[in-house]
Symmetry: C2
Subunit: 443 residues, 2 copies
């Protein structure tokens, strides 16, 4: 909130939040839209959004002149009244807050990034979601997504389960984007037999930037949580670089494919489940699991001693010995092509076969995936692949390497080893499909 | 070649290679195009191409009936006379053969895959390339691409250098597809100041399958080698799943993105250099290095003790200690997002910072890339990234992880450590661009 002094100043000049105003100090003149003031920084700092989309904060003081250029007619809502009043008329949706860019704002005084202080702040820029859902906010944690581990995944899974128990029809999880797809895969296995949608969303750009994608992502995610009969863990992020629609991607099929674009997340080896328009209309584009009244299961067991091991030219296969020595229980190999590793090279130092065999002899579960990401591993095309398959390496079909690693960790944390091995290349929650759809390549 | 007996049989029935024929034995009837017979298998086995594109071999014997259904009017050449006569009128192109699917044929009797026996066999199905170039074949090795290491890369680089010395204007390297992009990147660094094009090509499907992509890939590659003024290492593979055109991709920008599609190779973070039509017409789509009469350098030094280390949730950072203990000289981290690793987690076992710091203190060169593949790492967006950058981690811009690993190996094999570190994120051969072209995402 702006200070009383600043609010009086606005009032005196007939300026409202959202108006186009000019700030002048000497010969410097800045023009932009007057923004609402969040609970960070000085209440005397006036924040305007410049035409290039960036916000800038100017501390009110001697010599600063202020004038209204035009009345606001645009999208920026006047300081929204965050209701959270729970009148029970709209479908109940819980927003589980975990941290990440979507919950951060640049502090215009220090230039640093601050986390939101109150749940209401998440909703400042998206008042419209309260016309769709009766939103409850669960401030579960505030953790950067690169720091999330299975300990946090468990807490999130439990938070989601609690939200459904408390009567939510759907849950939105706001989370950092770096590892959002890993969390989505982990939750897909941990939360089975869901009664409604669990939608992860976040932002590639922080919420103070005009180009932030977080607002629309949150609107789309909330619409799915409030209205859809999907009963799976999904991820809702921009489908294009423009603010047109979000793609709803199955939790076990999503991958972050770009460091910074808003449409960074892609559905690999499967179609997105739906497209969600900016206005919240859901158009289904794939099959999905409906709530079927079946038993909900929350299985949060997790064996962290499962490694992802990438094969590449000149790679040192004794990495497998390292993991064996550390007591690892499983390995997912990111092979080349259809699932290859060097097994017939004449250079002993690059020969993977004896190391893989040793791991299998020691009882580790070993799965094969492809670093190509798209397509399917296949043990019967080349002789070298048959060698590995005959030893007992499990070929993981069209499952992504990262998903296979999480799945094996989850399986070994909840089932005995033989069961885990036999389930690794069997589809549980949409992570494997029996037939590839070739038209879904690189889109 | 078919046996004299079989050839006489064809002659008696007026059947020529390429005709549509029917083979009947009892009630079984097979119809397809009569194929030329390569130098493998029995000369009494008649090979026809079925309508689904697969070849099948039927041993001639009692009861087998043979009839011509239609005269051949299609693409399959009658058994081509492989000239290799070197009349010197066409531009000289050396085809360096290294193995891989493009040089394999299914043996229709055993079902196994055999390697070609003679260089001429590579050209059986593509006689047209001899109208474009005076082709020399160098049967350098026959190695599956997953087994290629820097030892073989050196031999290939030396083979290419020899070919230019001997007067070739361009070189085609036929190679397995699994690690073709790794070899292309290695050759890009090893061979600098080239006088002409070096084009890697191969096949996703073996040459006996109707759907083999190897023929067109070889035609396109040879056209580039014979006609283009590109003086870089590139890779020429299908640009679409149909036989329309090949994309010529810069050696440091290519990645195999699909296990089995013909258009598996994509240009990441950069446009392809050119499109090459089936007829060999070259349309340039990006800048490229022209032969400038500069000094050619063949630098094949290579430090194999450089690892690619992927960061993912629950990943064990002591992997870095393992590489330090083994005397590794460099590490390329595949970070999340803009180049993150867990550095502020409260779970010590997943805390990467002290391990990365130890590696830097020990004098290892450490580079940061993004597992997203697309986009650019950036050390100044988030606090966690600044931490790593301040320690001395080199942020590798928009270079792919696999390319950065090869580049660092090559740098440490040819330059002293400080020089190597300073060159890691400086563009040498097109592996880094200063500005990202966003419209080239996922196409």
């Amino acid at each position: 909130m702006y200070s009383d002094e600043i609010q009086a100043l606005f009032k005196g000049k007939g300026i409202s939040i959202g108006d186009r105003i000019a700030l002048s100090l000497g010969r410097v003149r800045l023009e932009g839209e007057l923004m609402p003031k969040a609970n960070i920084g000085s209440p005397r700092t006036i924040v305007i959004k410049l035409d290039d989309g960036y916000n800038i904060g100017v501390k009110h003081g001697e010599g600063l002149r202020l004038e209204r250029v035009a009345t606001g007619t645009h999208n920026i809502a006047s300081f929204p009244k965050v209701r959270l009043a729970h009148d029970g008329k709209l479908p109940r949706v819980t927003l589980v807050y975990t941290g990440g860019t979507i919950g951060s704002r640049v502090d215009y005084e220090t230039g640093g990034v601050s986390m939101l202080l109150k749940p209401e702040e998440l909703l400042y820029n998206v008042p419209e979601i309260q016309d769709v859902a009766d939103v409850y906010v669960d401030m579960l944690m505030s953790t950067a997504s690169e720091d999330l581990s299975y300990h946090e995944w468990r807490k999130i899974a439990e938070g989601v389960a609690r939200a459904f128990e408390a009567g939510s029809r759907g849950v939105v999880v706001t989370i950092g984007t770096d590892t959002m797809h890993y969390t989505a895969a982990a939750l897909s296995f941990m939360l089975q037999g869901l009664a409604g949608p669990v939608v992860l969303t976040g932002a590639q750009r922080s919420s103070d930037r005009g180009s932030s994608d977080g607002f629309m992502n949150l609107v789309c995610a909330t619409n799915v949580a409030a209205k859809s009969d999907i009963a799976e863990v999904c991820l809702s992020m921009h489908n294009k670089s423009s603010d047109e629609e979000c793609a709803l991607i199955r939790g076990t099929r999503a991958r972050k494919m770009h460091t910074s674009r808003r449409d960074a997340f892609r559905s690999i080896n499967d179609r997105p489940i739906a497209m969600i328009s900016r206005a919240g209309a859901i158009a289904y584009t794939n099959d999905y699991r409906h709530a079927d009244g079946g038993r909900f299961s929350l299985r949060t067991g997790f064996e962290p001693k499962v490694a992802l091991v990438k094969v590449y030219p000149n790679s040192d296969p004794s990495i497998i010995d390292f993991y064996m020595d550390k007591g690892f229980k499983g390995l997912i190999i990111e092979g080349t092509g259809l699932g290859h590793a060097p097994v017939s090279t004449k250079h002993e130092e690059f020969q993977w076969l004896p190391h893989i065999k040793a791991a299998l002899d020691r009882g580790l579960a070993v799965g094969m995936t492809s670093q190509c990401l798209y397509g399917r591993v296949h043990p019967n095309v080349y002789k070298n692949l048959r060698l590995l398959s005959n030893l007992g390496v499990v070929y993981c079909e069209d499952m992504m390497p990262e998903v296979a690693q999480i799945k094996l960790s989850w399986l070994l944390g909840n089932y005995d080893k033989d069961e885990a091995k036999s389930m690794l290349n069997r589809n549980l929650v949409g992570e494997i499909s029996s037939r590839s759809r070739f038209n879904e390549y690189m889109v």
